[in-house]
């Protein structure tokens, strides 16, 4: 079909409830039928503006995170002196005491990281600016660092706030900011990158994973880039430039020679053609479609157009997203309902779409771990693979059981009838139906939850299930129906 790979704006009369639902699912973790109707009524352009330009939406009501910046820190001068003395005197008892204290602090730090994780999940669930959290999560996976290695929950939180602040802003600001971010500098060992013994880790990942992608630079460029980043260090929870550690000499990075510092290095990278193309690819993979390996030529064509837009918009994410969300390609049949939900999209999306109770954030956090997306702990600096990596024999049951927990309160870990007591009344989903017949109700829920549709045979299965089990549509019937639909393999797609 001609329009399928066209990035031209879709005609506004095509922006019906289904299209609004698709937009909300991809951009905003999903929405209730009432919210979908409201957004559809706005029309294509206003709807997109509303979702993307979320700055004007008041988020003051969301709870603040309670974070102790001093929960853990590297040993201070006094502690370092004590450690050196104990080592010199081979005072094992003293060293043991110091180690004990350290272990306790690390335990408290892990506890705080768990609390911040639950805070973030709660925020994703209840924010009136869902795209803000969606983008924050995307940047967390793109500029990936791990609490497991950084071992400072305050710094991870600080990084999270940095992503949130610039989420729909400028990618250039994000790239410049990340080389000053304490968590990232520690994670990639740049705090020990100095002129006498450069450490290439940050320079390499900056090019390979954060701005250009593999194959768009040489090892020499990495070495020179590392020199530019010398002295970019951390002190007392903040970025600190250590002039004595910085190599002030001339460097040649990607053909550009000068006494470059880290920021000039980032400027050089942003100017490369590969940069907007790489970021466009990442945006595409997050919002449009799972791409495994090399994109096929037509997909690459779409990505190239997104890259052109990103460059034209001076790396501003908001107008680039609008360009994507308006396009025929984004609304095409090949794209709608063809992307595998991340654990966050599944968890947050189910709650937001069906308006289920939140229940226990601690259980939800554990569910995220089991499904393979531990916030603040992506598997590596390359973030999460996504796509088919999310769904396998083990995670499939975990994902289905998570929905059963949200909808019916059935605890996934207990082998009995233990249930979370908070009841869920799903009748609001069909409140506006004058005559809710099994067929109408099934179709309503399928269109809400299974965007690419199901075969007529499978639809019939579900209608029969409803007809066989109740004479009228009561809350129990709807709960049962929701359990069945969220347990369908197709529900893993959005």
């Amino acid at each position: 079909m001609a329009g399928e790979f066209s990035m031209k704006p879709v005609s506004s009369h095509r922006f019906d409830e289904a299209a609004a639902s698709h937009l909300l699912r991809r951009a905003a973790f999903g929405a209730t039928p009432a919210q979908i109707s409201a957004v559809a009524a706005m029309g294509l352009d206003k709807a997109i503006d509303y979702i993307v330009d979320y700055g004007g939406i008041d988020a003051a009501g969301l709870p603040e995170a309670e974070v102790d910046p001093d929960i853990i820190s590297p040993p201070n001068e006094e502690e370092r002196i004590a450690m050196r003395a104990a080592r010199r005197q081979d005072d094992q008892a003293a060293l043991d005491r110091i180690r004990q204290v350290r272990l306790i602090r690390e335990g408290e730090d892990r506890q705080q990281m768990g609390d911040i994780t639950q805070w973030w999940l709660a925020r994703m669930i209840s924010t009136p600016r869902p795209l803000e959290e969606n983008l924050t999560l995307m940047w967390h996976g793109h500029f990936a660092s791990r609490h497991r290695n950084v071992r400072d929950s305050y710094l991870m939180f600080k990084q999270n706030q940095f992503f949130r602040e610039h989420a729909n802003g400028s990618f250039a600001d994000l790239a410049h900011g990340i080389i000053h971010d304490p968590a990232m500098l520690i994670f990639l060992n740049n705090d020990s990158n100095n002129r006498r013994k450069p450490n290439e880790n940050l320079a390499r990942e900056l090019m390979e994973l954060f701005t250009l992608g593999e194959g768009n630079y040489t090892e020499q460029d990495i070495r020179e880039g590392a020199r530019a980043l010398t002295g970019y260090a951390v002190s007392d929870n903040d970025f600190e430039f250590r002039r004595a550690m910085h190599d002030p000499g001339s460097k040649t990075i990607l053909g550009d020679s000068g006494t470059h510092d880290g920021d000039k290095f980032v400027d050089i990278l942003l100017a490369r053609e590969a940069c907007p193309r790489f970021i466009a690819y990442k945006l595409y993979r997050h919002f449009v479609a799972d791409v495994d390996g090399e994109p096929d030529p037509r997909t690459q064509g779409c990505i190239n157009q997104i890259a052109t837009a990103l460059r034209r918009f001076d790396f501003q994410i908001a107008p680039t997203l609008k360009f994507i969300f308006r396009s025929e390609h984004f609304h095409s049949e090949a794209v709608v309902g063809a992307k595998i939900k991340s654990p966050a999209e599944l968890l947050v999306g189910t709650i937001r779409t069906l308006n289920t109770p939140v229940r226990s954030l601690s259980i939800l956090s554990e569910a995220m771990d089991i499904m393979g997306q531990t916030l603040f702990d992506p598997p590596s600096v390359a973030g999460w693979d996504g796509g088919r990596g999310w769904v396998n024999t083990s995670t499939l049951f975990a994902r289905q059981n998570l929905c059963a927990y949200l909808i019916a309160g059935k605890l996934p870990f207990n082998d009995g009838w233990t249930q979370d007591e908070v009841a869920y009344d799903p009748m609001v989903l069909i409140a506006d139906m004058a005559v809710p017949t099994p067929t109408k109700v099934v179709d309503r829920l399928l269109s809400l939850l299974i965007p690419a549709g199901v075969t007529s045979q499978r639809r019939q299965e579900i209608v029969q299930f409803v007809e066989k089990n109740s004479e009228s549509i009561r809350p129990g019937t709807l709960v049962a129906l929701l359990l069945v639909v969220t347990a369908m393999p197709e529900y893993q797609l959005c």
Binding site: D90, D96, E106, R148, E333, I340, I370, T393, S394, A487
Partner: protein, 430 residues
Amino acid sequence: MKPAFTRREFLQTSVALSTISTMPSFLHMSASAIAAPGESLGNAPGRPDDRILVVVQLSGGNDGLNTVVPFGEKIYYDARPRIAIRESDLLVLDKQAGIGLNSALAPIKDMYDNGMATVIQGVGYPNANRSHFASMDVWHTGDTRGGRGVGWIGGALDTWQTTRKRTVDATACVCIGREAPLAAGGRNVKPVAFENANLFRWVGSDLHSSLGPTYDKLNREGAPGNPGNPGGAGDSQAAFVLRTALDAQVATDRIRAAVAKGSVTSFPGGALADQLRMVGSMIRAGLPTRVYYVALGGFDTHANQTFAHGRQLGEFATAVKAFYAELEAIGERSRVLTMAFSEFGRRVTQNASNGTDHGAAGPMFLFGDMINPGIVGSHPSLADLDNGDLAYGTDFRCVYASVLDQWMKIDSTKVLGKGYKPAAVISGKV
């Protein structure tokens, strides 16, 4: 009659000496179950005959010094006035070297006497990390820089999958526990993990009897093509999830049916015995699983160690013995190698609470027909310590290398990132 055997020395950089020990007596083993090393019992058509590895994780940092006890060292008794174990309370392994086992390990001593157990002394890695999480990550990934990279078992199965050019079964790696351990996650091959087989399924069907049948109809169809594009390519994301759903149902059917059958021999109580019994039942059912992962906690003995440590060691030993008795009874004993490890050993000197604090090097145990029975490696010196702790003599990756190269027949260099000299723990006959 105590068997005489030669203690072999093995250091990381030296070449392994292939001295042949005097094998301990096999009198206690039932003749029908003894297979020549390397001969697979799974020769019936359709039965998987791949070799199996069972990993037993002793979580918390097992106190190696009170497990494999250097009763010949005076320093041991000086450093642990309240918790050192007297020679008369030990099961002596090597009188000359002064090494004995904690008496709670009597079942393992039995296995040792029958040539089914190896003790590796002084296992660790450079720049030991004394944090549970960090050190466990190191053991799980084989990466001492802080557990970066994929799990060693997942990586091994990835390598196996690439080499055989065929996708491995969804149940290639089965882990008993709520979450799969880091070790089991590969880049492509992912493990199955469950605490209890009854939870390895959709629990929604518990809520009403009508839900199960409809769920089954919807999840067992498998995939021809994208519902929106019938007859189209079967490799869409929709086709993938439909296929995975069917795979998952097949896996849960097999696993739950296997576990429901229980065991033919009786197992003691305890969490580890429960897990190994499940593993035994899955092996008996002929699952194509190559690696099973189980765990026993309670080894972080900071205070009042003697009783608690003895109890955990006893649970470990009785569970492993029962497991091998079960394997023998179902005719699968020769297929299974079991490896037990802990994330670190503990300090030489006891603390003020009659316990011990986190240390470094410690022992590992290997069990099975295919192991080189006896003691591998010398006991770390109690005088020449490394940062106050026992120095390691064998890098744990050398043990992994042996298990991977010689037992699993998977190239350890590809998995571990470089070649490690395999520890002499697998019999040369396999």
